[in-house]
C-alpha cells in the first residue's frame, strides 16, 4: 500500500494519519504539497488529512478543493484509486464534488471535541474489511462544521446504494437523539462514492491506534486499508 498524504496550508493532522498508516502498512506515506500537479508514481491511496486548510476561509475546504494537486486527485479517483478524506479532508471532498452534499455548521453552533461511537454500516469495502458487520466503534471527533446536509434525492440515493459508511450512534449502536453530535441528516458520519473507492468521514480513526491514547478502534480501519 503506497499512500500519499496531501498537505495544505493549515492542515494539522497529516502526521497523525501518517503514523497510523505506517503502523498498519509498515510503510511511511509520502507527503505531497498542495501546489504539486502530480502524485508520486505508484500511489494507491490518497489521504486528505484533517485541519483547517486556508483557515476555513470562504467555506471549510473550499479553497483547498481548488488547489493545483486536486486535478491529480480527481484523476486518481476516476481510475478507481482510493481517496480518503478525514474531517477537513471530508469537507474538501464535498467541495470538489467527488462526494455529494455539504458539511454545515454544527446544529448547536458548538465545536465538538470528544469521543464518539460510530456504527460501521458495511464491512465489505477497502476501508472496513477488518470490522465485524454493524460493529460499534469508539473514535474521536473534533469539528465545528460536521453537520452533513444533502437534498432528499441525494440522501435517498446514498441510502439506496449503501453508500453511508459510518453513522453516529450510542454505545449500543442505537442512532438518533443525543447520539448525533452535530445534527447530521440520517446521523451520517461518513459516506462513500458510487464505486466505494472515495470515502469522506468527520471522525478521526487515525487518533485511536494506540491503547496509550484511549483505544485502538481506529487501527482496524488502517489494517483494512493495508490489506486492500
Amino acid at each position: 500500500m503506497n499512500a500519499a498524504v496531501i498537505v495544505f496550508p493549515g492542515s494539522n493532522r497529516e502526521k497523525d494519519v501518517a503514523r497510523a498508516l505506517t503502523a498498519a502498512t509498515g510503510r511511511a506515506p509520502a507527503f505531497v504539497w498542495h501546489a504539486e500537479t502530480a502524485l508520486p508514481p505508484g500511489t494507491d491511496l490518497v489521504v486528505l488529512p484533517g485541519g483547517f486548510s486556508y483557515g476555513d476561509y470562504l467555506r471549510c475546504g473550499a479553497i483547498a478543493a481548488r488547489a493545483p494537486v486536486i486535478a491529480a486527485v480527481r484523476a486518481h479517483a476516476a481510475r478507481g484509486g482510493l481517496v480518503l478524506g478525514i474531517c477537513n479532508g471530508f469537507q474538501i471532498l464535498v467541495e470538489t464534488g467527488l462526494l455529494p452534499g455539504v458539511l454545515m455548521r454544527n446544529a448547536n453552533l458548538r465545536f465538538v471535541c470528544r469521543m464518539q461511537h460510530l456504527r460501521v454500516e458495511r464491512n465489505d469495502t477497502a476501508y472496513t474489511s477488518h470490522y465485524e458487520p454493524s460493529q460499534v466503534i469508539e473514535v474521536a471527533i473534533a469539528h465545528g462544521e460536521g453537520n452533513y446536509v444533502a437534498g432528499a434525492e441525494t440522501l435517498a440515493r446514498l441510502e439506496g446504494d449503501g453508500r453511508v459508511a459510518f453513522r453516529y450512534c450510542d454505545r449500543d449502536g442505537v442512532v438518533g437523539g443525543a447520539a448525533n453530535p452535530n445534527g447530521s441528516m440520517h446521523d451520517i458520519a461518513g459516506i462513500y462514492s458510487e464505486k466505494l473507492n472515495v470515502l469522506g468521514l468527520m471522525p478521526h480513526p487515525e487518533n485511536l491506534i494506540d491503547p496509550l491514547v484511549g483505544g485502538t478502534d481506529g487501527l482496524l480501519f488502517f489494517e483494512s486499508l493495508a490489506a486492500a
Partner: protein, 79 residues
C-alpha cells in the same frame, strides 16, 4: 467597474448562525425582527467596461468558487 456579489443560503437550509443572531437581537429588545438569515457580501473590482461581459465573469466566479450551489444562491449587482 465595481460589482457586488451576494451569497445567501437557500430557503429551507438550516441557518444556526442566523438563528443565534435573531435570538441575540431579541435579547437586546430590538423590536419587530421576525427572522434573520446570514449571508456573505463580496465587493469586486473588475477590469472590464462591458456589463454583459462583467456579469458573465461574476457568474463564473460564483459557480466556480464563491457559492456552494448545493446550499447557496448568489446574486450579482453591477455598480
Amino acid at each position: 467597474m465595481k460589482a457586488r456579489v451576494l451569497v445567501t443560503l437557500k430557503t429551507g437550509i438550516l441557518d444556526p448562525q442566523g438563528k443565534a443572531i435573531e435570538d441575540a437581537l431579541r435579547a437586546l429588545a430590538v423590536e419587530g425582527v421576525e427572522s434573520v438569515r446570514q449571508g456573505k457580501v463580496f465587493d469586486i473590482k473588475l477590469a472590464l467596461t462591458d456589463s454583459a461581459k462583467a456579469e458573465g465573469v461574476l457568474r463564473e466566479a460564483c459557480e466556480k468558487l464563491l457559492a456552494n450551489q448545493v446550499v447557496e444562491n448568489y446574486q450579482v449587482e453591477l455598480g
